[in-house]
């Protein structure tokens, strides 16, 4: 396999492949893919170190800590990290770097990445799932909430794109 970091799969074939992974998850587990659940569990693990009693006394955290489905998501994301490493290595894209537009410094880009992450983390908790768990999995199963969420995500992105053009262009 030749390694060309600028070569990606045909988007439609990649989409079909992703859809088949999602379909497999539906048939085997009766649930879709997810990502933010694993992040929540990571946060809970960190809290357990500093304030173990706090987790037990916060209903939303205690519920996520006890949920077998969230445990499943942690293992699924562990697999996704492995898959990401293998795919990046075999395509020549595995290297330490900061991705950004030409007009922004590394520090500012990293700060924005963190801030955007916080926004998405809070958002994904209030929507009961992120782009993977809600839009992709819920969208494929025709949930009204998932479709409303998906259009809102694109809406939010397009609404702010102009203000953030210095980060990317």
């Amino acid at each position: 396999m030749q390694r060309n970091p600028d070569k990606f799969w045909n988007p439609y074939l990649a989409g079909v492949a992703l859809g088949l992974v999602l379909f497999t998850s539906f048939l085997v587990m009766g649930s879709g893919l997810g990502a933010s659940g694993a992040s929540l569990r990571a946060g809970i693990a960190a809290l357990e170190v500093f304030a173990p009693s706090h987790v037990a006394s916060t209903p939303s955290l205690a519920r996520a800590e006890a949920s077998p489905h969230v445990t499943w998501l942690v293992f699924e994301i562990f697999g996704a990290l492995l898959g990401g490493v293998v795919a990046a290595y075999t395509s020549g894209r595995l290297r330490g770097e900061v991705l950004k537009g030409p007009r922004i410094g590394n520090g500012a880009r990293l700060a924005l990445a963190l801030a955007g992450g916080v926004l998405m983390g809070a958002a994904a908790k209030m929507t009961r799932g992120c782009t993977s768990g809600q839009a992709l999995s819920g969208g494929a199963l025709l949930s009204v909430g998932a479709w409303a969420f998906m259009f809102s995500v694109f809406g939010g992105g397009y609404a702010l794109a102009w203000f953030l053009r210095r980060e990317w262009r």
């Binding site: 996704a80 795919a87 992709l136 794109a161």
Partner: protein, 399 residues
């Protein structure tokens, strides 16, 4: 319904790693580990995010539709299991917030993991940010003022075919066909848009056109959607025409009443007086002429419907045939149940084989439980008392 498989917990975790591997691998290869490529979606020149996401949604959707048409899965039951309920207000507000976070960070929560795995430091920062954000909202969501917002617009499990007032049986298929048609239309539009914008686009943006493989995908999706619709017609005819309830022996029913009553919906079709006097635990008394008022056609197929007549049911009642889940009829009707579960069994003759003794114990136990008797019937007479003096001592910690 054969799927979902729902493996035991530990085996499920193995499946999780394998499924996750595919998830991460495909995301990376689609270019989703690179913030520039993801962000380019919002500047109009590279529609990769849209193309990948919608072809994935359509593929998985058509997969479940075809599996349902073949009777291997049940679209709504699977969706109820896999999808969270719809909370319209936080989902729309959170959607805009997530979209904002997407363009600020350049990733979504899932793709940030893949970016981190491929060594991108900005991906790592986004992963950390998502963790903080998740905990932050988890801290707030249950507090009085926030909880109202967090649970606002609660519509339960609510699906597009319900929104458009389509029938629960054909709705998923019709909506799936419409979504497929819409997606393919949008794909063609996205290709056009990319070509139009290619002239004045940013030099860094590299759109990936459909090409021949893309056109094959369009055709494949269209064919699958059409097959789903054909499949819809076929099993419906089979189901409504010659659908007969599966027989369920009194013993099998008794076991299920004990082991998994939550998976049963027992409907007693005998006249009201007979049913109110004596019925199977958990049974609803619905005389046969009132069966239509239950709305079984629109009921959730999660529980198995068990029909109980006075005697063997001659044919499937029309209202029950429309039930989307499994339908059983108690073999021999309530008369058989009464003889089996409500009458004390005859003790087996002395010297009966072990299997008879076992069957007697089971029936006696069922009878005791179903009639609410305090004491079980007398134990069977032992075949031959072996007698003999009890061994003295025998160890233990008393000595």
């Amino acid at each position: 319904m054969t799927f979902p498989i729902l493996p035991p917990f530990e085996l499920g975790l193995v499946a999780a790693v394998l499924i996750g591997f595919g998830f991460g691998f495909v995301l990376e290869r689609a270019g989703f580990g690179r913030a520039n490529k993801l962000a380019a979606q919002f500047y109009g020149e590279d529609m990769t995010v849209f193309k990948v996401m919608f072809s994935a949604i359509v593929t998985a959707m058509l997969g479940v539709v075809l599996a349902s048409a073949l009777g291997l899965a049940d679209f709504k039951a699977l969706a109820d299991h896999a999808v969270s309920g719809t909370y319209l207000v936080p989902m729309v507000a959170g959607g805009f917030l997530l979209g904002a976070g997407f363009i600020v960070s350049g990733y979504c929560p899932g793709t940030s993991f893949v970016a981190m795995a491929s060594g991108k430091l900005d991906g790592l920062m986004t992963v950390l940010g998502v963790i903080v954000g998740q905990v932050l909202w988890a801290e707030l969501e249950w507090r009085p003022g926030f909880a109202t917002f967090h649970n606002a617009g609660d519509l339960g499990n609510f699906y597009l075919w319900e929104l458009f007032h389509l029938s629960p049986r054909s709705g998923p298929y019709v909506v799936a066909l419409a979504v497929t048609a819409m997606a393919v239309g949008c794909f063609v539009g996205a290709e056009k848009l990319e070509r139009v914008l290619a002239g004045r686009s940013h030099p860094g943006a590299v759109p990936t056109p459909a090409g021949r493989p893309g056109r094959f995908v369009f055709a494949g999706l269209a064919v699958a959607a059409a097959l789903g619709l054909v499949g819809l017609a076929a099993p419906t005819v089979a189901r409504e025409g010659g659908r007969a309830p599966t027989g369920l022996a009194p013993l099998a029913l008794a076991r299920r009443v004990f082991d998994e009553p939550w998976k049963l919906r027992i409907v007693d079709l005998r006249p009201m007086e007979a049913c109110s006097a004596k019925r199977i635990p958990g049974a609803e008394c619905v005389p046969q002429d009132k069966l239509g008022t239950l709305g079984l056609a629109d009921a959730s197929p999660g529980r198995d419907l068990v029909l109980v007549g006075a005697a063997e049911l001659p044919a499937m009642p029309e209202a029950a045939a429309a039930y989307p889940g499994r339908v059983y009829a108690l073999e021999g009707g309530f008369a058989a149940w009464e003889a089996f579960a409500l009458t004390p069994p005859a003790p087996p003759a002395p010297g009966a084989p072990a299997s008879d003794l076992e069957a007697y114990r089971l029936r006696a136990g069922i009878q005791a439980a179903m009639t609410g008797m305090k004491a079980a019937p007398p134990p069977p007479v032992p075949a031959a008392a072996p007698g003999g003096p009890r061994k003295a001592g025998g160890g233990g910690c008393s000595g």
